[in-house]
């Protein structure tokens, strides 16, 4: 689907809602704003309910006979299982503080993208079908019945929320639409109402370990290919190991880094760092082809699916007998590790409390999960003077840093990446206040919405982030947006190119790889992207 020019799209945004009551405005499923339906084979593979071919544009969604019962039963069950959900259904005062905080509302103007209203779509069912007051007073109490039309509306808008949690920062009660969306999607999944960009990766992760379904030999090939590139640039070839029993550390990264540019450059950065650490300090890091996905697509399906997919990391760590696990630059992966992993898949008592064998630093904040973020690992190495850098190789880059939603509002991971960035680069400019750290904006493609067919809504959702980038681009000539999330690297590349041409996107370890002086390396002519380094132009 061809998408409008940026200025046309921008001019079309109006934040004025219609006069009619929202319950009287049925959802109209627009191409460009929804993702294709989940492939039945993928659902079948992992045993999800109601696999069938269906199309969101059709009238008939081929729901099971007793679908209302399933949804209402599922709703009741989850009200008991999640206090968060129950409280969030009950205490919203509709103050509207969250309304203009969602990137999808800012960029689309669609009032049902206001977090409060997105929640009301489900809350109205909760009131109309479950609470006494709502059952008696009906619409006066904001309740309505669960009809097919309502179900379609929920599906449409719950797959227009990237579960970024920005709304929750501003809500006086901390109502987190992401939590409501997660549970709303669980309910939709009970009817087989998934989207393909989630269903397929889920099945792939389950089968092959990574979301693209890369089989073990091909996974290794990809990494070998990066090693070729590194050899060409530096004259040194990293020798990564795979599935190695008895390695010190297991490394798990989002498989986006292994497959899609510009994540691949970040992956080269990891390889170079590990090579350096092996040569200088004898650290033995291994990759797994079995647990080859950090990003958890189950998280966008159900809590159960999240647990099923995440289990691999601990199972593999146990099998290989490593000391602890190192995790790559990824958003959702880290939200899941930080807030769910130990509770769901733990206790990981067969692993050690992570200690950096090089600096001796004990990562107490990861004492129970036994999983360390590569950025905190690297920051610690740098702080202890264990890495040698040549910053001049990044001299052509003027960078800004994009805080990923999940590492920000799910972890509070702000200073570590900035410290690493400052250590490898001189020209850094922060985006304006209100758009960074806990108030950071989503890339627009998180939570499995990074598909091609929903371009329009992704560009709309990407507007707030891209516009803040535009500010530093215009003011300071920023030409690189650095981040620590694989979905960011994929989505932002497109949306930044759409709204602010001239800015590229990179992971942090790409910049680390550029600056890192490998022992015995040849003089580099280019950076990891093959661009000529500053000062090397004449020699060409």
């Amino acid at each position: 689907m061809a998408i409008q020019k940026p200025d046309v799209l921008f001019k079309g945004i109006s934040h004025r809602p219609p006069q009619k009551d929202w319950m009287d405005v049925p959802a109209q499923i627009k191409p460009g704003r929804y993702c294709y339906a989940g492939d039945p084979e993928a659902l079948e593979y992992v045993g999800l309910p109601n696999p069938r071919k269906w199309n969101p544009l059709d009238d008939d969604w081929k729901l099971p006979e007793n679908w209302q019962e399933i949804v209402i039963g599922g709703l009741k069950e989850r009200l008991e299982k999640f206090r968060s959900f129950k409280i969030f259904m009950d205490v919203c005062v509709r103050c509207g503080a969250c309304a203009d905080k969602c990137h999808f509302f800012i960029g689309s103007g669609d009032p049902k993208n206001m977090p409060v209203l997105r929640a009301e779509l489900l809350r109205s069912i909760y009131r109309g079908e479950i609470t006494k007051a709502g059952k008696i007073l009906g619409r006066f109490a904001g309740g309505r019945k669960l009809t097919e039309e309502v179900l379609k509306e929920i599906w449409y808008y719950y797959y227009q929320c990237t579960e970024c949690r920005r709304c929750s920062v501003f809500c006086p009660y901390g109502i987190d639409q992401a939590e409501i969306t997660i549970i709303g999607r669980e309910l939709l999944n009970l009817l087989g109402l998934n989207i393909d960009w989630i269903a397929k990766p889920v099945a792939n992760c389950y089968r092959t370990g990574n979301h693209l379904g890369i089989q073990p030999h091909a996974f290794k090939d990809m990494i070998d290919f990066f090693c070729d590139d590194i050899e060409e640039i530096c004259g040194i070839r990293p020798e990564p190991t795979f599935n190695k029993v008895g390695a010190d550390i297991l490394f798990v990264t989002p498989s986006g880094d292994v497959f899609a540019d510009p994540g691949t450059y970040t992956c080269m950065g990891y390889l170079m760092l590990f090579h350096y650490l092996k040569e200088e300090y004898g650290l033995d890091v291994t990759w797994s082809t079995y647990a080859s996905e950090g990003g958890n697509f189950g998280f966008f399906t159900s809590h159960e699916m999240m647990k099923r997919l995440n289990a691999k990391m601990y199972m593999e760590a146990k099998r290989l007998g490593v000391k602890w696990i190192l995790g790559g630059e990824c958003g959702h992966m880290w939200r899941v590790i930080h807030q769910y992993m130990d509770t769901m898949n733990g206790p990981a008592d067969f692993l050690d409390v992570p200690v950096s064998p090089i600096t001796g630093t004990r990562f107490d904040s990861a004492a129970t999960t036994k999983m360390v973020h590569i950025v905190e690992f690297t920051a610690d190495l740098i702080k202890n003077g264990k890495l040698k850098f040549d910053k001049s190789r990044n001299a052509a880059i003027k960078a800004t840093f994009h805080d990923s939603c999940n590492t920000s509002r799910g972890m509070g991971f702000f200073e570590e990446p900035r410290y690493v960035l400052k250590s490898v680069l001189d020209n850094i400019y922060e985006m304006p206040e209100g758009t960074t750290k806990e108030q950071t904006f989503c890339c627009g493609g998180g939570s499995g919405l990074n598909a091609g067919e929903n371009d329009e809504i992704r560009m709309m959702g990407g507007l707030p982030r891209a516009n803040a980038v535009k500010y530093v681009h215009d003011k300071h000539g920023v030409n690189m947006l650095s981040c620590i999330c694989a979905i960011d690297r994929a989505t932002l590349t497109q949306s930044v190119n759409y709204w602010v041409p001239g800015v590229e996107v990179c992971g942090l370890h790409e910049l680390v790889g550029n600056a890192l002086i490998l022992p015995g390396e040849q003089e580099r002519e280019t950076d990891l992207r093959g661009e000529t380094l500053p000062g090397k132009e004449e020699e060409e």
Partner: protein
Amino acid sequence: MKAIYSLFLVFALVLVAMFGAGALGMEYLFGVLIPYLAVLVFVVGFVLRVVGWGKSAVPFRITTTCGQGRSLPWIKQDKLENPSTTGGVLGRMFFEVFLFRSLFRNTKVELHDGPRVAYSSSKWLWLFAILFHYTFLVIFLRHMRFFTEPVPFPFEMMDRLDSMLQIGAPALYLSSVIILVALGYLLLRRLFVPSVRYISQPADYFPLYLIISVVISGIMMRYFVKTDIMAVKELTMGLVTFRPVVPEGIGTVFYVHLFLVSSLLIYFPMSKLMHMGGVFLSPTRNMTANSREVRHVNPWNYPVKVHTYEAYEDEFREKMVEAGLPVVKPLDETSEPAENKE
């Protein structure tokens, strides 16, 4: 429409009290029975709701982290916005509950040509919300002089401070003015800000009107319609000592006031007003963000079906061997394929 419905409903309540306690003279019903019932409904309803929430499990720590988390020792943690200890959580909750911290962060978005998206600080909602809640509290506390004998010093003090300005006789309460202004702002915002109007429901207008009419009937009593304060005190003291009496000649407006307050108490537990209790229980705010550091148990964690390494190797063994990847079982050892496990 919704706004009008709700207004109409509140008018109806006023009429019921005027008619019932005034024309029909059912003063005992409106002065004793309904207030008792209301307090009972309020207390029982409130407790049931909170217990209901409390019964739901808290499986995961989903704290919203609004500041630097605990990390390497040389990185300064934001202990209030991203607490990893109970002390930090208490601090965070204090700021949330007493100072409306999150609302204070509020911003407003505007689109300009360019294209440019601009954000500006927007503190009006915070200001009027906090004014409303605190004046409500003050008014509640200074009413305590009707329910105590002798009146304890703090309540006296509160009353004196509130009427500090000494305008007119009887002296004007500051709180009455502020609460009306604040409620007026909240109401007008709902009526005239398009996006807020769009999300508003009868259940949002109704309590606003109800509280406004409680305040207005209170003001009426004090300044405009003659009410026998001594008689009111006799009645309220009778209520709290469980020896209810209904003195003569209190005046209908008092019963209207009391009936509206009773309605508010009854409405409270079944409505969004329960945010008063909910604010303390919100899992994104009242939990420590330390689940990477400290083990936390999910009460309903159950085993799930996972894909084992053995099953994986069975499927890909040939390709793995070809690519030089280590395998556990050599190729020629043909045996039963491994199962996935629960």
